[in-house]
């Protein structure tokens, strides 16, 4: 996490105290009450506090639900797909702040992409778009990638014709 630089800039003001015989200087440490101290960066907090695309799609074309064995988080992504392109996406997440933010960001990023493009989606995109995640929370973005891919697989299973449509080509598998 970034250090709150502005806080430290004003934290240590050395004052020459000529009146006291023993204490030669005094250090004033102030706490900045106007600053919001948060666990994650602004972007992650924004996506946690105001999640985008939270919910379900009643007539989803593909739904993926995955769990992370490491921490027990569970993520579900629903996709609406038309003409091989992701028209809409929704998520529901049981997990920590960064898991909720990761699924919110992942659904934002993949809307408008073709199924083929979405198949090569990487968790790094989520991390970058969120302006970074703490190392111990990177797995949250991995879970978002996996939930998306599980939803795409579900779509392909239900619509084999879409997957083999010549114009769209084979889903790109890394």
């Amino acid at each position: 996490m970034d250090l709150p630089v502005d806080r430290f800039a004003e934290a240590h003001i050395l004052i020459w105290d000529k009146t006291s015989p023993i204490s030669f200087h005094r250090s004033e440490t102030k706490m900045n009450n106007n600053k919001e101290y948060t666990l994650y960066n602004e972007k992650v907090m924004d996506h946690f506090m105001n999640p985008r695309n939270m919910g379900d799609l009643p007539s989803a074309d593909g739904v993926g639900e995955v769990g992370a064995a490491a921490c027990g988080d569970i993520m579900k992504i629903s996709l609406k797909i038309e003409d091989g392109r992701i028209k809409d996406a929704r998520f529901k997440t049981f997990g920590c702040g960064s898991a909720i933010a990761s699924s919110s960001m992942a659904t934002e990023l993949i809307k408008g992409r073709t199924v083929e493009e979405a198949m090569s989606f990487s968790n790094q995109e989520v991390v970058d778009a969120l302006g970074g995640l703490p190392p111990v929370k990177i797995h949250c973005s991995v879970l978002a990638e996996e939930a998306l891919k599980a939803a795409l697989e579900d779509y392909v299973k239900k619509h084999p014709e879409a997957a083999s449509a010549p114009a769209k080509g084979e889903p790109a598998k890394a």
Binding site: M49, M54, V66, G67, C71, I74, F94, G97
Partner: protein, 427 residues
């Protein structure tokens, strides 16, 4: 922020009492001497340390101020107690007995000793988190040199039967170390009546400053130093004393002892109000540890909201001005579920949704009502985002707190979707 935040994390630390702060001030600037010095500056400070030792002894009913060892904090006091007793008695035996729900500073000190040839036995607790005395008796061998059981648990507030443990220790002639960092200043402690040979606590948990810890050691209990390079604390803890913190801690201890009945009564009433209000307002909530009463610390409320995770609750509560701790898994640095919640047999999914609220003397009834109302909102909001809540509504999974007999358990469900993931990873 529309209202000042409600601080419900007194387990982590407390604000320094203004009287304590005033008492500390001269020891930073005027009475700054090193107590080991032989001139007036040193001697002046030595007297202040002596007074603090007496105040610490007063808090825990110790007869002799010389039995008080001063350290840098609760963690160091626990390390010194465990390692110091183990090394001092290694000719006598190599077996250490502890409860499953000790603080990491005790657990990991013992794990460290195990790498050097010591062995240990962890005694289980019951579903409320109370040590099983029958299992403790079974665990003791003729090689046992230390019994380490905390007074009250940090996470779930369970008060251990220390007097009974003290009696068992006395019968067997084994040293009994009790970590009282969660209880000191909030629950009466009498080391003599409880048969405790070593006891640790930290004044910053009861309105004293950080940077000082106390280890009471009955002179009959052998202890060697783990910090070397000085004769401080009769050679049992080298290093210059943190004089201002010790002076402040001493006064905090004296005040805590004098005000203990009023403080305990006040927070106990708040605890009852908070627990009853949450139980009434938030469905599918489980309280961990014993009910509010003699077996529970008056300061601690530990709960788990089903179908949601703890960190999200913590973040939203903080945003709404309620500062709490999480006992769940996804808490900033570690992904592990609290060993205490595992020890009381809490379902993994529930343990993930666990929150710890710890009360202090400055909390009010109005604050409790705000917390209850806010908690209800936060839980509702997060359940609205949780796929598990949907699946519970649809009857696919069942509640652990109030089972309806429909659907499989959350844990089974989680294992299956995690299984899917591993299957996908293999392909």
């Amino acid at each position: 922020m529309p209202r000042p935040p409600v601080f419900l994390d007194h387990l982590s630390s407390t604000p320094v009492d203004p009287r304590v702060f005033e008492a500390m001030k001269p020891f930073f600037t005027e009475a700054f001497g090193n107590p080991s010095s032989l001139h007036r500056y040193g001697l002046q400070v030595r007297e202040a340390l002596r007074r603090a030792r007496e105040q610490f002894a007063f808090l825990i009913g110790a007869e002799n101020a010389d039995d008080i060892l001063l350290t840098s904090g609760g963690t160091e006091a626990n390390n010194l107690a465990v390692k110091g007793v183990a090394y001092a008695n290694q000719r006598k035996g190599n077996h250490l007995v502890l409860s499953e729900t000790e603080h990491p500073s005790v657990l990991e000190s013992i794990a460290f000793l195990e790498k050097q040839g010591f062995t240990s036995t962890k005694v289980p607790v019951d579903a409320q988190g109370i040590l099983r005395l029958d299992k403790l008796r079974e665990a003791l061998t003729d090689q046992t040199i230390l019994i380490a059981v905390h007074h009250a648990n940090h996470d779930i507030g369970a008060i251990q039967p220390v007097a009974e443990i003290g009696q068992i220790a006395a019968e067997r002639g084994i040293a009994f170390f009790c970590d009282a960092t969660a209880s000191a200043g909030w629950t009466p402690i009498d080391v003599k009546a409880m048969g405790i040979h070593l006891l640790s606590f930290a004044p910053h948990r009861f309105y004293g400053p950080k940077g000082v810890g106390v280890l009471y050691r009955n002179r009959k209990a052998r202890l060697v130093s783990i910090l070397h390079g000085g004769v401080q604390e009769n050679g049992r803890r080298a290093g210059t004393e943190n004089v201002p913190a010790i002076v402040g801690g001493g006064l905090a201890a004296e005040i805590a002892r004098k005000e203990l009945p009023q403080r305990a009564e006040k927070v106990r009433a708040l605890q009852k109000r908070l627990m009853a209000g949450l139980a009434a307002k938030v469905p599918y909530l489980k309280f961990n540890g014993p009910p509010s009463g003699p077996l529970r610390l008056p300061t601690n409320v530990s709960l788990a909201a089903e179908f949601i995770e703890g960190e999200g609750q913590l973040l939203l509560l903080d945003h709404l001005g309620v500062c709490v701790a999480s006992g769940g898994s996804c808490v900033s640095k570690s992904l592990k579920v609290s060993h205490v919640l595992t020890a009381i047999g809490l379902d993994h999914a529930l343990a993930q949704g666990s929150i710890i609220m710890t009360l202090g003397k400055e909390n009010t009834e109005e604050e409790m009502d705000y917390v209850i109302e806010t908690m209800a909102k936060v839980v509702e909001r997060l359940r609205g985002m949780s796929p598990m809540w949907d699946e519970f509504q649809q009857g696919k999974i069942d509640s652990t707190v109030a089972p309806r007999g429909v659907g499989r358990s959350f844990t089974e469900h989680a294992a299956e979707v995690s299984g899917h993931r591993e299957e996908r990873a293999r392909r």
